[in-house]
Symmetry: C2
């Protein structure tokens, strides 16, 4: 076997927050035996249209629907003779974040799947459950020292929305004081001038300053160790 | 073009410390025009012998000489139509660390190259200078919150050796107090019971406890920001 014939795919775990629950995007795939299973957006590189691997990852999301991808990152490349019965295969794994937009239509061929205790509520085909676990692990690490939680929120959000996003991912809630200390520094957020009014006292609405894309902080949240 | 014919290679940046200087391993490669250039240990996957990509990375180091690899990690996969003139190509980039052993022979076909200001002192072929920069960036990040510096040292080392290793990589020197606070906690190091005697007062020698492989700390060194 010539390794240059190794199967190459790019697999993407697209996360969103929906009513406080972390979800991933899955597509419905009909297998030869007539069974429909869920799998990750994934597929081959198209050398005609993809200039680089990032393009491939984004294209496979867009093949399902034009979701607004607010952040994406490569996680790892897994390559071995075991994961595909057809032979040596490589998958380049990405994760991406999207801001939940209720107006956004999810097509019939796709489904958002809740994550429960770090696994898809409905099991995915192939080794995709394991890929989700690897992407989630990276996300869990990184929300602790970066601005990532904000990329899962609507364009305008409150500081308390950030806290809820972190809780949805980690199951742990850093104190509001820590969140204020980080996010209200260094021009990370800009006040919209609007307030969100609800049952509590009105809360200031912010948006993420584009210049700080993917900023890292210098330590984890102490309370979420 | 069928993407399954994309060129796949695994490239490895092997770092070592030599007399306080960070170096990388390069191999001498004779090009068709008779010119000899230096390049990274790299090459194809061998599906007959490599069970996974990690095997490929380690094999390409071992093709040069049986260096004792104390730590290794995948950095990123770069894939695009530009980096190889023959067409769409993927490279899976690794970095690895080795404990410098003076008795170790570097064969004629290889050379250790000093890193000066983040670049190989002698320029490498292809886009390998850029690969070195990417691997070095990951190393620089990670030495700030992990036990990695110890993987570049001889099997027995002093706390001051750790400080010197960090200095060789970052050009910044965290205070000995910070190093003691981290490394003398949680059974990371074990005292050998021996002392190193020199011009200063004798310093305790330690070895790295294998159980803590790749341990991460919860914050960066404040003084090295």
């Amino acid at each position: 076997m010539n390794v240059n014939s190794a199967l190459i795919s790019v697999d993407v775990v697209l996360f969103r927050l929906n009513k406080g629950t972390l979800q991933i995007l899955a597509q419905k795939q009909v297998f030869p035996d007539g069974i429909t299973l869920l799998s990750l957006p994934a597929g081959r590189i198209d050398p005609q249209t993809d200039h680089c691997l990032d393009d491939t990852a984004l294209r496979h999301i867009n093949n399902i629907a034009p979701f607004n991808v607010s952040y994406y990152e490569q996680v790892i490349t897994i390559g071995n003779a075991r994961r595909d019965s057809r032979g040596w295969s490589l998958t380049v794994l990405y994760y991406a974040l999207t801001q939940n937009n209720d107006a956004e239509n999810t097509p019939d061929k796709a489904q958002w799947v809740n994550l429960v205790k770090g696994l898809p509520e409905t099991s995915l085909a192939y080794d995709h459950n394991r890929l989700v676990q690897q992407a989630l692990k990276r996300l869990c690490n990184k929300v602790q020292y970066s601005t990532l939680p904000a990329y899962l929120l609507q364009q305008e959000f409150t500081l308390s929305d950030i806290q809820k996003a972190i809780y949805a991912i980690l199951g742990k809630r850093p104190p509001m004081r820590s969140i204020r200390n980080r996010f209200l520094r260094d021009d990370i957020l800009t006040r919209t001038g609007h307030l969100r009014r609800g049952s509590n006292r009105p809360a200031a609405l912010y948006y993420l300053n584009e210049k700080v894309q993917g900023k890292l902080f210098d330590r984890l949240y102490l309370s979420t160790q």
